[in-house]
């Protein structure tokens, strides 16, 4: 009972606060702007066809209802929450009248597949290389590895992706420029290999950047661990180096890594905007980009909300799982 009261409840409360702040921000921001989505939608429709004033008024009412901009700001806010709790994010404007939730559903598969794989690969690779370099700091390969990764690490992700795109689709065209796959989705080798082929470059760009980050962190963590007494003792006892590295050093540095893995998996739901835009990959990020260009507020808000809920939930889960991963963490 104390566990529930003193550990779980405060973290759950923090989760609710995060969601509340996030939802409120996404509610307020579009309403503080001078642009009225209903007026904009009306203008766009009326530029395409003439409409008699009565029909226009009916349409305006319907749109106001759909976009949830009826009444004063408090009524709108309450209505916004009500719709949200029903899982209704309103219609998309880009592909009217497809509901936003359905568009997100189509895109999310691509994003989760691409990012999930890339995040896990870079996580494993970064921890492995970083701990290795932290355990053997004086070898030439660890110095080369560190220097090159430290140079890559601060480069803005867009630049990295853009350079890769130019190199491998233009100067040496081995990878396709756009898209997520060829042909109709099916469990055939043709389709699956085309999906892998399309995903390779975007995944590589994420893996390079994320591995560099994970490497620097893993190395710093491992090098403090290496100097601790128990590792020295294990070395004096002439345990195999491999065993010391994997079962002593890496194991004891895992906690922050696990924490970060969960957070990066949570942030997947925002979509990798830049990756997907640069490589025209048909996931959430690309949908978000299209929504921006078409001023599709419902879709924009839907994806923003999804990413906030995703990351907040991931950090809640991390917090709740902490005592399981590390018995040293006692609930406070």
């Amino acid at each position: 009972m104390t566990l529930l009261k003193e550990y779980i409840a405060p973290r759950f409360a923090q989760w609710l606060v995060v969601i509340f702040v996030g939802v409120t921000l996404t509610f307020l921001i579009p309403r503080l702007s001078p642009i009225n989505p209903v007026d904009q939608a009306m203008a766009r429709l009326q530029s395409q066809q003439r409409m008699d004033p009565n029909a226009a008024q009916v349409l305006r009412n319907t749109l106001q209802d759909l976009y949830g901009v009826k009444g004063n700001i408090f009524e709108q806010y309450v209505a916004f929450w009500k719709r949200l709790l029903r899982g209704d994010l309103g219609p998309s404007f880009l592909a009217f009248p497809t509901p936003v939730i359905q568009m997100i559903g189509v895109a999310i598969g691509w994003t989760v597949g691409l990012l999930g794989t890339a995040v896990i690969i870079s996580w494993l690779l970064g921890i492995f290389l970083g701990s290795l370099a932290g355990y053997f700091p004086d070898r030439w390969w660890s110095k080369v590895l560190e220097q090159s990764l430290v140079t890559v690490y601060p480069v803005p992700y867009f630049i990295l992706a853009f350079v890769l795109l130019i190199l491998f689709t233009y100067y040496w065209p081995v990878f396709p420029l756009v898209g997520g796959g060829r042909g109709t989705p099916a469990f055939t080798w043709d389709y699956i290999s085309s999906v892998l082929h399309h995903a390779f470059l975007p995944a590589l760009s994420i893996i390079v950047g994320a591995t560099a980050f994970r490497f620097t962190m893993a190395k710093a963590l491992a090098s403090t661990e290496v100097s601790s007494d128990y590792v020295q003792y294990a070395e004096m006892a002439a345990l195999p180096k491999r065993k010391i590295l994997f079962f002593y050093v890496i194991r004891n540095t895992m906690l922050p890594h696990v924490n970060d893995l969960a957070l990066s998996l949570g942030s997947i739901f925002g979509g990798a905007l830049i990756t997907e835009v640069v490589f025209s990959y048909p996931g959430l990020g690309y949908t978000l980009y299209n929504a921006i260009n078409a001023a599709d507020y419902n879709l924009l808000m839907g994806i923003t909300l999804l990413s906030i809920v995703g990351i907040a939930t991931a950090s809640l889960l991390v917090d709740l799982c902490y005592p399981l991963f590390d018995p040293r963490v006692r609930y406070r």
Partner: protein, 287 residues
């Protein structure tokens, strides 16, 4: 301050490398004030010329000299980043110090607000705002925006610092000798935060440069101004790659890489100097 800088230059190779790069970057910024053309002036030189002795980095499709464009771009990008850093760190310092020194309910409210801002993903939010303001956004407001969304993590660090400073002897001495709270915080505690502020400012710079480039490349910033991001945007817009005019794109890409590496190397030296542990904390800032 001067001796610190001298020691850093002497003993930290990464700080030295970073400092040299940053001096060159600054030189570039100074050079922009001597440009023969205004930054939005078009069709002043022949279009689409490759790099030559006359036009060191070539010319663009709109008839601008890429070298002078780049000097403006570096200046503007650094200005946006600088503004963002100043705004973000000021909010961070003020809220962190208040919440650390006053404590109690106010501390709990401010801390959970900061926690929420750490968790909330910044990029989608920034894009939402920028796309709503499209066409009206200026470099000034871009810097403000990035600053307003990047204060939470530094603020938590300052709070932690002030929490420990509050319990130190000299704070009690100051309180008992009747110093006002404001003066204690400003005169006694603020100087302790300055090293952390410096390290944070550098990582803030990296963060803001990344955002500026990203937003501009998506066409969400002030597209009439020269920044590193808008240079890439217009380069793509006029199909520099297809027409094999890569110099238009190479210049901003290389410039951005050099700038961030300069800042990053300097920050590594700085944070190792401060405390080996802050290095870890520093890395986590950018997760």
């Amino acid at each position: 301050m001067l001796t610190t800088t001298r020691d850093l230059l002497r003993y930290s190779p990464s700080f030295r490398a970073g400092a040299i790069i940053l001096v060159f970057v600054l030189l570039f910024v100074v050079l922009s004030f001597f440009s023969p053309y205004a930054q939005d002036e078009r069709r002043v030189v022949p279009t689409n010329k490759p790099p030559s002795s006359e036009y060191i980095l070539g010319t663009s499709a709109t008839g601008q000299d890429v070298f002078w464009m780049l000097t403006f771009a570096v200046r503007n990008t650094l200005m946006v980043a600088g503004l963002a850093v100043i705004i973000g760190r000021s909010i961070g310092v003020v809220l962190g110090m208040i919440s650390g020194y006053v404590g109690g309910t106010l501390d709990r409210v401010l801390s959970s607000l900061a926690d929420s801002f750490i968790v909330i993903p910044v990029l989608p939010l920034l894009i939402l705002i920028a796309s709503l303001l499209r066409g009206q956004i200026t470099l000034l407001s871009l810097g403000l925006l990035i600053g307003f969304l990047d204060w939470a993590y530094p603020s938590k660090r300052y709070r932690a610092q002030v929490l420990s400073l509050r319990e130190r002897e000299f704070t009690h001495t100051a309180v008992f000798s009747g110093m006002s709270t404001l003066r204690i915080v400003l005169q006694q505690h603020l100087p302790f935060l300055i090293p952390y502020l410096l390290a944070d400012a550098v990582s803030g710079f990296l963060f803001a440069i990344g955002f500026e480039v990203t937003l501009s490349v998506l066409g969400l910033s002030d597209m009439n101004m020269q920044t590193i991001g808008t240079m890439i945007y217009w380069g793509n817009y006029y199909e520099a790659l297809l027409a094999n005019r890569t110099w238009v794109l190479v210049a901003p890409v290389v410039a951005s890489i050099v700038i961030v590496i300069g800042f990053y190397q300097a920050s590594i030296g700085l944070s190792q100097f401060l405390d080996p542990r802050t290095r870890l904390a520093h890395l986590q800032v950018k997760g």
